[in-house]
Amino acid sequence: MNAQALFTAYTTIVLREIRRFTRIWPQTLLPPAVTMTLYFIIFGNLIGSRIGEMGGFDYMSFIVPGLIMMAVITNSYANVVSSFFSMKFQRSVEELLVSPVPNWVILAGYVTGGMARGLGIGVIVTLLSLAFTQLKIHSLPMVVVTVFLTSALFSVGGFINALLATKFDDVSIVPTFVLTPLTYLGGVFYSIDLLPGFWQGVSMANPILYMVNGFRFGILGVSDVNPFVSLGMILAFIAVLTYIALKLLARGKGIRH
């Protein structure tokens, strides 16, 4: 396949993914908007007003970047894992496997689809947050780079989960028992300065902490970790997971007999 044909194949996968999640918007776009609005109301307004400042900002301003990032992470991951596993389940993945699309284009197409949903939700949550607080961007490049890379990272993660999953339970295990705890403990709602020394050290092993803080630095200009370390960590994770995903695809793990 020449470059133009590869691009056509890539855009076909991406547009198909975007069509899929916009067609079922009550399942994909609406729930995170509702959930995040509730977070803003309950944690930001009701409880947040009693908490006072966190990291030098009012509590609502502090949690907004974390909540946006949480929405981006969960939706990027969920889009790819559910879409690709459904294709496996319905066997429509065979449409791709019999075609000459290279594995890296398949991965790129699904990751872009996941990013489209993750970033789309990110925009929706950001717009909703404006009803509760004023967002002053400290560093737009940092915001954009962090959110794009994080979305890409969790899209690749979702893809690997979909390849390895053999039943629907396997699709929900990682988001429920890994992703959600790591996100909640990743500094979305608090600064790790509040934790005792030991738990601060433990928190530093949580990759999501770096993403949330990198993004928070982009918006507020404050972070529990060095923002460039955050970017380095995200890039390293992307490289490792992409390598694993391509290896699994080449072996036909979960998709070829």
Binding site: A5, Q90, V98, P100
Partner: protein
């Protein structure tokens, strides 16, 4: 001329240790209409699955129009269209989208894909259903949708795995006509089928596979010439109480007015009629009892069963 498909020493052992293919050699010429026959579990779908990259091979070589799937998989796939045995499209997508998306995977821009999709959806009688979600189609329509999808990139080799399974007779005949037309226009076609009359009606060359080995690979004509016995059903004018005695022929009463007569190769059918006339049995019509290829197939597959293993045991 390069063969449309060449398979050499193909083996497949699944993770469970089951040896599905034990060294298959097969050549399908360009322009051929080829049938790959065999009982359930014989290795037909595994063979075709390897050709289509849905199954990974253990050893051996496969090339499609000279493109080796190990070294030039992309070009091999460009030459290939696949119609699987089971429905494998997104049930929630619309008919037109399913076909054009498949074209996109082959690098065909949407504008061209739309033209090709229209052509094949019209030919297969699905154009009126183009905006219908696939799940709303009947079984026959879903099969035709898979054919349209497989053809949208104009492959030179079309592989159909049980294309008419569960399709009514009228639709099956119309699908046959369509496939014959495709073959006349130059598309090489390989099909697996359980309807042996389908293979007999359509194919020029036939390979029979059993227990992971090719037990026969020849032309349909040569295969049918091996048939040493044919059974005819004769409808008699009057109902009979018992089968008449026919010298040199085995004759049974199938029904009150239907005689079943075995005629061996070299015997004259005329002798049957002469003897029946002598016994004042008037025949009003005649037909062959079973599909000829079916009889041959059963005989070959029975002979290929490993010692001490019945066909039923072999598939357990």
């Amino acid at each position: 001329m390069t063969n449309a498909l060449e398979i050499e020493g193909l083996t497949k052992t699944y993770g469970s240790g089951f040896e599905a293919l034990k060294g298959i050699d097969l050549k399908v010429a360009q322009g051929d209409f080829f049938a790959l026959l065999g009982p359930n579990g014989a290795g037909k779908s595994t063979t075709l699955g390897i050709v289509c990259s849905l199954v990974t091979k253990s050893a051996g070589k496969v090339s499609v129009f000279g493109c080796d799937i190990d070294t030039n998989l992309s070009d091999a796939k460009l030459n290939l269209g696949v119609v699987p045995q089971e429905f494998n499209f997104n049930q929630f997508e619309k008919v037109f989208d399913i076909v054009t998306i498949q074209a996109g995977y082959y690098g065909i821009p949407l504008k061209e894909a739309a033209v090709s999709a229209e052509k094949y959806l019209k030919k297969l009688g699905l154009w009126d259903k183009r905006n219908t979600p696939a799940r709303m189609l009947s079984g026959g329509m879903k099969r035709r949708l898979m054919i349209a999808r497989a053809l949208v990139h104009e492959p030179k080799l079309l592989i159909l795995d049980e294309p008419t399974a569960g399709v009514d007779i009228e639709l099956r005949r119309s699908m046959w006509s369509f496939l014959e037309e495709m073959n006349r226009q130059g598309t090489t076609i390989i099909l697996t089928t359980h309807y042996l009359e389908e293979a007999e009606a359509l194919c020029r060359n036939i390979a029979i596979i059993d227990h992971g080995r090719i037990v026969r690979n020849t032309s349909k004509r040569e295969l049918l010439q091996q048939l040493s016995l044919e059974t005819f059903l004769l409808d008699t004018e009057l109902a009979l109480d018992a089968a008449p005695e026919l010298e040199g022929f085995s004759c049974r009463l199938d029904d009150e007015g239907v005689l079943e007569v075995d005629v061996h190769k070299g015997q004259a059918l005329n002798d049957v009629f002469i003897q029946l006339e002598q016994q004042r049995v008037k025949v009003v019509s005649m037909r062959t009892k079973a599909n000829r290829l079916e009889e041959l197939f059963i005989r070959m597959v029975e002979h290929s069963a490993p010692e001490g293993e019945t066909k039923t045991e072999g598939r357990a």
